[in-house]
């Protein structure tokens, strides 16, 4: 298959080393630890925004590095992020209408 | 007049004529006095909507006529008459942009008016009277919370007909006991769904006393088509009379009369679900209905002043016969209150339908009132069940019900 060889080359060029992946995993683990700590330590008004921020950082780290989206063809990013973007848009909008109730 | 402007003005005339023809064709095609006509507003809210229609529909007409006229011209003009294969042009961007911008401008005008009307219609601050409306399969309950300024000193519960003062800003607080219904009196306002677990607000106001018909507009199961309503606007004085009548004390029928026997039948057969305020048992204890034990939605129409209403069974049937009905519907605005407040007298009663209903309600109106369909609702009915009343019982009951006025 002609494309198979191409994608091989792609990943070898742009992918990361195993050590790199381990580093990413360690960062993810650290963020998770920080997230869990919010359960025990009072973060005050920063609680919600910081949790959401950490969630997104983890999300995009896994998607960009482990799933190679950062290095791969932009078409993949397009397919995935259209879905993600639409999901966030429609569901946030729908939940908002429950708040603008009256 | 120079040629250009003459052509222009004649074009305008043609266009005007076309719009006129289309509009009058539509109007001529309409029924007269259709009770639920959305284009006959009888109150400020419906008028606001109608004003918007008067803007949008002509625009739609004009655009439609231009586009369809152009289309017809093209169909005729560029018919294959053996002409050359045309030049393979791929379009003109300036034209595309024009044809995008023009509709956008038209729509933004419509949008501005729409925007304003939406918020005008949502206005509830200046409400003068509040009525709670509860939808249920397949009828509406109206309950008037205590509002001394309107003479309502104890809650009034009624059904079938919404009675309210004309020229008064009424706020309906809508909800439902089972599925989603939608309250819609086209002459007074657009529809608003009655959703279980939520309270939705709908503003009604009638300019004149009169009867305004409506219908449940959200599909609500088996008998959705039979869930009608009527809104009765009375002058303020007549409304006060109606309120006073609704709150007057219960007068039991004299002992030994057929009405008294009817009361006994009522207590034995009907009082489980239906409430008549003030009704007492032999020991003098008030009889309180417990419809939630039998009826899935937990309510049956309150029959306290049944004979002040013109309809029963979710306004599916008239409680008055055709002649008396016509008197009320046909009464001019200033006489309407008087005609309505007469209520249902014996000679006006629609004996046929009422008796048939008492004889076998599920046959008259499709309902989940058959024992073999009650599994999922734990044996509770939706609608009125078959009671196996004898003809004698029915005679007595009708006589008794006639006393509830």
């Amino acid at each position: 298959m002609s494309t198979a060889t191409e994608s091989h080359e792609d990943t070898h060029e742009h992918g990361m080393s195993d050590a790199g992946y381990i580093k990413i995993a360690l960062i993810l683990a650290a963020i998770t630890a920080l997230e869990v700590s919010t359960y025990y330590v009072d973060f005050g008004p920063l609680f919600l925004p910081s949790l959401i921020a950490m969630m997104f950082v983890k999300f995009f780290m896994v998607v960009s590095y482990f799933m190679h989206l950062k290095f791969d063809n932009k078409l993949f990013s397009l397919m995935f992020y259209i879905g993600l973007g639409l999901a966030i848009f429609v569901y946030v909008a729908a939940l908002a209408t429950f708040k603008f109730f009256m | 007049m120079d040629t250009v402007s003459r052509v222009k003005s004649s074009r305008r005339r043609i266009l005007g004529t076309l719009v006129g023809i289309a509009a009058s064709a539509t109007l001529a095609g309409c029924a007269q006095n259709a009770p639920q006509d959305t284009w006959e507003p009888k109150g400020p809210n419906a008028e606001m909507i109608h004003d918007l229609d008067n803007l949008v529909f002509p625009i739609a007409y004009v655009v439609g006529i231009i586009v369809l006229g152009l289309a017809l011209y093209i169909f005729w003009k560029f018919k294959d008459r053996g002409q050359e294969i045309p030049v393979q042009g791929h379009g003109k961007p300036y034209m595309e942009i024009t044809l995008t911008v023009v509709p956008a401008l038209i729509l933004s005008v419509v949008g501005v008016f729409t925007f304003r009307t939406i918020f005008d219609l949502a206005e509830t601050q200046d409400t003068e009277i509040v009525i709670n409306v509860t939808g249920q399969q397949w009828w509406w309950e109206y309950d008037y919370p205590v509002q001394p300024e309107h003479g309502i000193n104890q809650p009034i519960v009624t059904s079938g007909q919404l009675v309210f003062p004309a020229g008064t800003k009424v706020l309906l607080r809508e909800t439902s006991r089972d599925v989603i219904h939608s309250y819609w009196i086209p002459a007074l306002n657009g529809k608003k769904d009655a959703v279980p677990g939520r309270v939705h607000l709908l503003r009604l106001e009638a300019n004149e006393p009169g009867l305004y018909a409506g219908q449940c507009a959200e599909f609500c199961g088996l008998s959705h088509a039979n869930m009608r309503m009527e809104a009765i606007a009375l002058s303020k004085e007549d409304f006060a009379k109606w309120v006073a009548n609704q709150q007057k004390a219960y007068v039991p029928p004299a002992a030994g009369t057929v009405e008294a026997e009817g009361e006994a039948v009522y207590i034995a057969q009907c009082a489980r679900c239906h409430q008549v305020n003030g009704l007492k048992d032999a020991q003098g204890k008030p009889i309180i209905s417990a419809p939630d034990e039998y009826v899935y939605s937990g309510a049956a129409p309150n029959l306290t002043a049944l004979m002040t209403r013109n309809t029963f069974a979710g306004a599916m049937f008239d409680l008055v016969n055709e002649k008396c009905r016509a008197d009320v519907w046909g009464a001019p605005s200033e006489k309407f209150g008087e005609a309505y407040l007469k209520g249902v007298t014996e000679d006006c009663l629609n004996q046929k339908d009422l008796r048939a209903w008492l004889r076998n309600a599920p046959e008259m109106k499709p309902m989940y009132a058959e024992p073999n369909l009650l599994g999922p609702s734990d044996g509770k009915y939706r609608g009125m069940p078959y009671l196996a009343l004898t003809e004698d019982d029915i005679d007595k009951l009708v006589a008794y019900l006639l006393t509830l006025k």
């Binding site: 002609s2 919600l48 078409l75 999901a87 | -």
Partner: protein, 203 residues
């Protein structure tokens, strides 16, 4: 959009031809994952709407065991690392190492699922049945859907091991592993969101 239709006419005859130069299978998987975003989005939104509606049943804060769930979240997160290592070894054609990492991933995934089953039974014993309240129905549906996804992933991982071992792959091996990996990471990513929104942010 990538417009690299540079293949010769001869290549075009072959089904492997691709106008964009990317693999059909990978593109399909990414589309599927884009679609899954809206599936899980819907389930998460249902939970967010109903999280506080507990009827007579237990509240989320009463029953969640954050330390326990943190550990199983961590396990799932680390399975993403082993998955990515499986992919890189497959790309190096080091299939024995691929198999090893795939097995590790499957074991970590199975551990997570086991943890979830344990968690569900514990909640059930504390009075949180599926029908108890809106909270319970939407919680079990959301996390259950995720659990099913993980389980399917574990089966896919083990099947991949089997297919690689028996040398019965019908396509490009490295790409098959990579595609299983994409699915697996996505399942992990969904849990990242669930863990924060469901467990860490109180109703």
């Amino acid at each position: 959009m990538a417009e690299t239709a540079t293949h010769s006419a001869d290549h075009a005859a072959d089904h492997g031809h691709s106008s964009t130069g990317i693999s059909n299978n990978k593109l399909a998987m990414w589309l599927f994952l884009g679609s899954e975003c809206l599936l899980f989005g819907g389930l998460i939104s249902t939970y967010m709407l109903y999280r506080g509606r507990v009827s007579d049943g237990p509240h989320p804060e009463q029953i969640f065991d954050i330390p326990f769930t943190s550990v199983s979240s961590f396990v799932l997160l680390m399975s993403s690392l082993s998955m990515v290592l499986a992919v890189t070894s497959a790309q190096r054609k080091d299939y024995s190492r691929t198999n090893l990492w795939l097995l590790v991933t499957a074991i970590l995934g199975a551990t997570f699922v086991g943890g979830q089953i344990y968690e569900f039974t514990a909640f059930y014993r504390e009075g949180l049945g599926f029908s108890t309240s809106l909270f319970s129905s939407s919680f079990y549906t959301l996390t259950g859907f995720h659990g099913v996804h993980v389980t399917v992933g574990v089966i896919m991982l083990l099947s991949t091991v089997g297919i690689l071992k028996k040398n019965r792959a019908t396509g490009d091996k490295a790409e098959s592993v990579e595609i299983v990996g994409l699915y697996w990471h996505f399942v992990d990513v969904v849990w990242i969101i669930i863990f924060t929104l469901v467990y860490l942010i109180p109703a």
